[in-house]
Amino acid sequence: AAASRRPWRLFGAMCLLRLPRITQPLEKEEEEMAALMGQIELEKSHYSDHEIRKLEEEERLKRRKENLDDDDEGPSKTVTMARDLEEKWEQKFLQFQAAPRITDADKNNNRTSLNRKLDSNLMLLVKHKIGNQEQWLLPQVEWQPGETLRSTAERAMTTFLGDHIQAKILGNAPFGIYKYKFPRAIRTEDNVGAKVFFFKAFLQSSDLSQTEPKADYLWVTKNELGDYLKSEYLKKVNRFLLD
C-alpha cells in the first residue's frame, strides 16, 4: 500500500468531563415517591435499641411522678437519659455548617472555575486559532504519524492543561467525529479538509491549581455549549454526551 498523501488532515480532540460532585435536585414526583417509600419503611420497621431505651425511661419517669410519695428508691442516681443524649446530639448537629451547594463561582458566573455547577458534568473548552480566526473548541491537536489517535487526544489535553492532569480515558476508540472541508481558498487536492476525532475522559484530579493553561479556557455544562460552539460542531458533540 503506497503511503499516498491522504486528503484529510487528522486531529485528535479530548472531551474532558468533570463529573458531578453533588446530587441533582429531585423532581416533584421523585420527592413524593421518596417520601412515600420512607413512610412505608417506617411503618414496617421495629424500634431500635435507643428508642426502646427511650420508651422505657419515659415509662419510668411517668410512674415515678405518679408514685412520688411511695417511691423512695435510694439515692437519685444521675443516669443519663436517652432524652438528654438526643438533645446533646441535636445541639451538635445545629452547630455543624455544611458546605454550600451553590458556590461563589456560580453566583459570579465565573465560567473558568471548576468549582461551579457542582451537580452537572463540566466540559473543557479551549480557544483555538484556526486560520486567522479564533474559535472555541474542545481541545484538539493535529495527529502526528507514529502515534495512535488516543495519544493525540491525550497530547491535546496535556498541551493545554499541563502534564500533571489526571484523567481516565474511556477506551481506545473515538466517540465521535466532525468532518469539515477547508474553504475553497486554501483547499487543494491533497488538502481537502480535516477530520476531528473526539475522545472522552473523566477528570480524576480535583485540584487544578497547579496547572498553567496555555490558552483561554472555559468549563461549561452541556446546556451552555450552545453559547460557544458552532451548530454543526455542536450537533456532533451532543451525540456522544449523555446528560
Binding site: 491522504r6 463529573l19 453533588i22 446530587t23 413524593e32 426502646i52 489517535l149 477506551g171 465521535g176
Partner: protein, 150 residues
C-alpha cells in the same frame, strides 16, 4: 560451676509416674472425643427477644393506586430517554470508527483494541453537599462484642 549433663539422671519411679500421667491424659482426650461436639448457635439467625413484639402500629394505607401508576409512568419515560441517548452514543462511535477505517488501517486497528486499564472501573458517586475543606470529622470508637465459642 559443676559440669552438668544434658539430661538429669532419671530414676525408675519417675519414669513410671510420667507414663501414668500420659495415659491419664490420653484417656481424658478419648472420652472428650466420644461426646458429640456442642452446636455453636449462629447469632444472626436468632432474633433477640426484645424485638419480638415491638412492632410499630401497622397503619399501611393501601390507597396508593394513583401514585403507583404515576410512578410507573415516570420510570418508563426515563427509561426511554436513557435508551435513546445510549443508542445515539453508540451510533456516533460507529460512525467515527468507520471514518477512521477509511483513513488508515493501522489507526483503526489501534482504536478497536481492548483497553486493559479501563476495568475494573471505580467512580465515587455524588453526595448531597460538597466536601467541606478542612473539616475534621469526629472519630468514633468501635467495641467488638462478638461472642467467641471454643
Amino acid at each position: 560451676s559443676f559440669p552438668c549433663r544434658a539430661q538429669p539422671k532419671k530414676k525408675k519411679v519417675d519414669v513410671r509416674r510420667e507414663q501414668a500421667q500420659k495415659d491419664r491424659m490420653k484417656e481424658k482426650l478419648r472420652k472428650l472425643k466420644k461426646i458429640a461436639p456442642e452446636v455453636i448457635p449462629i447469632e444472626d439467625f436468632v432474633t433477640p427477644l426484645k424485638y419480638s413484639d415491638s412492632n410499630r402500629s401497622v397503619n399501611l394505607l393501601l390507597a396508593l393506586s394513583p401514585e403507583e401508576t404515576e410512578r410507573r409512568v415516570l420510570l418508563l419515560k426515563q427509561d426511554e430517554t436513557e435508551k435513546k441517548a445510549i443508542q445515539t452514543l453508540v451510533e456516533s462511535q460507529q460512525e467515527a470508527l468507520k471514518e477512521l477505517c477509511l483513513e488508515s488501517e493501522e489507526l483503526y486497528q489501534a482504536a478497536i483494541l481492548r483497553d486493559e486499564g479501563l476495568f475494573p472501573f471505580k467512580r465515587d458517586g455524588p453526595s448531597y453537599t460538597p466536601p467541606l475543606p478542612g473539616y475534621d470529622h469526629p472519630r468514633g470508637k468501635c467495641v467488638d462484642i462478638t461472642k467467641v465459642y471454643t
